[in-house]
């Protein structure tokens, strides 16, 4: 059961910022990210805007090339894959984006949208129409939707079509980049339930990118919290919510509006200060120190080490270093 599907070590991606004549500097979008994902589980990647979540998602699928680091998918070195191996990797992995409006070609019918990946990968499914109808049925749509165009569907239905397209190739690992952020809560609940069901029946592994901690609690097995290109804490979902250690994780947790007035008004809140600094010139030492209520001298100078609080609970913070 506890089989590892994905190992990411020390992943790095810097984007150059171009001046008029020369490169002005680099945005350290992803700066030394390490994590492991077990088959059939969901790792949630959370953090504020610009913390590098989407970049991590695109890097591990090799939609963009990393500057450094290692990605192992089922033991294969993803950065070295070529030709048919790369094509096979592409079949076994997939991504679903936030915006179901722009990720579907408006001029294609649902039938063609779902047939496209089968043709691209030369996959023989027998009766194509039958197969496509079965895909639609799995996401709660049906035969009657085959020859319609994306604009004829609601946001939630379009996200179902995106998911059906991804399922067409029977992937193992799916990156979901804010898949429900543009949907209403009632529709979000439908999509989250669908994703859960599919994960169970197909043993899918998800890397779920979101900034909604309610969604995280519902869908994730593990959570990685990112801040300015780095993971500051990783733990089981329950530990993140009941036993978080990093001051940033705690700040994030006390920032979320809780849909329960009793809890919302009774809970103790961490002090909220400051805004995330520019990723172009991240602060030296621990990147969180300018906003951290517990910052010590060392935090301004040295990057915090990785501390294993307990098995499967890792935090990067000087506060937890035993001296």
């Amino acid at each position: 059961m506890n089989e590892t599907i994905l190992i990411v070590r020390n992943l790095r991606k810097y984007f150059p910022v171009k001046g008029i004549f020369f490169t002005k500097g680099y945005i350290k979008a992803v700066d030394g990210v390490t994590f492991t994902v077990l088959r059939g589980s969901t790792l949630a990647l959370v953090g504020e805007s610009g913390s590098g979540k989407s970049t991590v998602g695109r890097l591990i699928l090799r939609l963009i090339e990393p500057d450094d680091g290692e990605i192992l998918f089922n033991g294969m070195n993803v950065r070295k894959l070529k030709n048919t191996d790369l094509l096979e990797f592409r079949r076994r992995t997939a991504i679903v984006f936030q915006d179901p409006y722009s990720s579907l070609n408006p001029r294609m019918t649902v039938y063609n949208i779902l047939k496209e990946p089968l043709e691209a990968h030369n996959i023989d499914v027998g009766d194509v129409e039958e197969y496509i109808v079965s895909l639609l049925e799995r996401v709660g749509l049906g035969k009657e939707h085959l020859y319609r165009f994306p604009h004829e569907f609601s946001g939630g239905q379009r996200q179902r079509i995106s998911i059906a397209r991804v399922l067409a190739l029977k992937p193992e690992l799916i990156v979901l980049d804010e898949p429900t952020s543009s949907l209403d809560v009632s529709v979000q609940a439908q999509i989250l339930n669908l994703l859960k069901d599919l994960q169970e029946s197909d043993k899918l592994t998800y890397l779920f990118i979101t900034h909604d901690l309610g969604v995280v609690r519902y869908i994730a097995s593990m959570v990685a919290v990112m801040y300015l290109g780095k993971i500051v804490e990783i733990a089981d979902t329950d530990s993140i919510f009941s036993d978080s250690r990093h001051p940033y994780t705690r700040m994030l947790l006390s920032s979320i509006p809780v849909p329960d007035p009793k809890v919302a008004r009774a809970r103790e809140k961490a002090k909220l200060t400051g805004e995330p600094p520019s990723p172009l010139n991240p602060p030296p030492g621990c990147r969180f120190h300018p906003r951290c209520p517990y910052a010590m001298d060392i935090c301004r100078k040295e990057e915090p080490p990785v501390v294993e609080i307990e098995k499967r609970h890792i935090v990067c913070c000087h506060l937890y270093v035993r001296r």
Binding site: G214, R217, D260
Partner: protein
């Protein structure tokens, strides 16, 4: 408590190529002094149109076709443009989702505040008003106010821009601030700071706040009372605690069950089947009927908003019948 605003049977229609959109269809509510009232509901249910209609800001193809908006005893909908502009920006002010759109890139942050101040106080000069801007920045916790007033919008982060917009909104001690999804575009830690700020405003400036949101978390954190809208109508209205404790309308129940709660492990979210109705061909009778698990033939007739328990209103035949028994 004193009522400062009373909206009565408000109706706003949009006359589009495809037909008439009854965006707001008989909405009534009141705002009390010093309270935060939330309007919550899913996309397209008429929250923003309601908010804009309060100061008659509805443009063609939209039209306010009925209702009254009583403010200090006068009907705002009867006023002409001159009278309206002395209310807007002074006694009733707005904060929108996108602060960038609200700020003019050519003017400094301080100028935006100073301009609203001078516009509504005869004889005040801009120098004096700029000093007032520094004061307000200080009050709403913008760091380094003396220098911040000189910043241009592009030099400010999203959260800071929204603070500047809030500064202009409170500059004239408004009676009512209407905030339409003021934190939707912001990061969570910034969102929490802005919500705290809005909560403080009623104490500091004596303003009431009408807060429009689709986030039930924001409702729980912020609001004294809640209005739940569905397809252009109010389906439920109650004090916040009561609404979460004892939701009466099946739509409200559905919404509450659909939101994943970070503080509770949920095995399965309940979702509301179906989609929001097309606002041109709204269902006959109760508009929630096609999606409602409890719908009966009675629901073919539209239910009225009735008081089911003290200060708790709902429009649903289920409750009406229980009430009669």
């Amino acid at each position: 408590m004193k009522k400062i605003l009373e909206v009565k049977d408000l109706r706003v229609h949009f006359y589009t190529y495809n037909g008439t959109v009854k965006a707001v269809d008989g909405v009534s509510f009141e705002v009390y002094e010093g309270e935060v009232l939330c309007i919550v509901g899913e996309t397209g249910c008429g929250k923003s149109v309601t908010a804009r209609a309060i100061t008659k800001m509805i443009r063609s193809p939209g039209k306010i076709v009925g209702g009254r908006v009583l403010f200090n005893g006068i009907d705002i909908l009867e006023l002409d443009e001159d009278q309206l502009s002395s209310i807007r920006g002074k006694t009733i002010t707005y904060v929108y989702q996108d602060p960038s759109a609200a700020l003019d890139p050519l003017y400094t942050a301080g100028y935006h505040v100073a301009e609203t101040v001078t516009a509504h106080s005869v004889g005040m000069r801009i120098r004096e008003a700029l000093r007032r801007a520094v004061e307000i920045f200080h009050e709403i916790l913008i760091p380094d106010p003396e220098n911040r007033v000189k910043s241009y919008p592009h030099e400010l982060s999203g959260g800071m821009k929204q603070r500047v917009v809030i500064a202009t909104a409170v500059a004239n001690y408004p009676k009512l601030i209407i905030a339409d999804e003021p934190t939707t575009a912001l990061d969570v830690t910034i969102q929490a700071q802005i919500l705290d700020l809005l909560k403080e405003l009623k104490g500091r400036y004596g303003s009431s706040v009408v807060m429009i949101t689709h986030n039930l978390g924001v409702v729980a954190e912020m609001c004294d009372r809640v209005i739940v809208m569905y397809a252009g109508k109010i389906v439920e209205k109650a004090h916040t605690e009561r609404l979460f404790e004892n939701p009466l309308h099946p739509y409200t129940k559905g919404l509450l069950n659909a939101v994943p709660n970070p503080y509770r492990k949920t095995m399965r979210l309940e979702s509301i089947p179906g989609v929001v109705p097309d606002m041109i061909n709204v269902p006959e009778g109760c508009r929630f009927r096609p999606r409602c698990p409890f719908a009966t033939n009675a629901c073919l007739i539209e239910p009225e908003l009735i008081e089911a328990e003290k200060d708790h209103y709902v429009s649903c035949w289920l409750t009406s019948k229980v009430g009669q028994q």
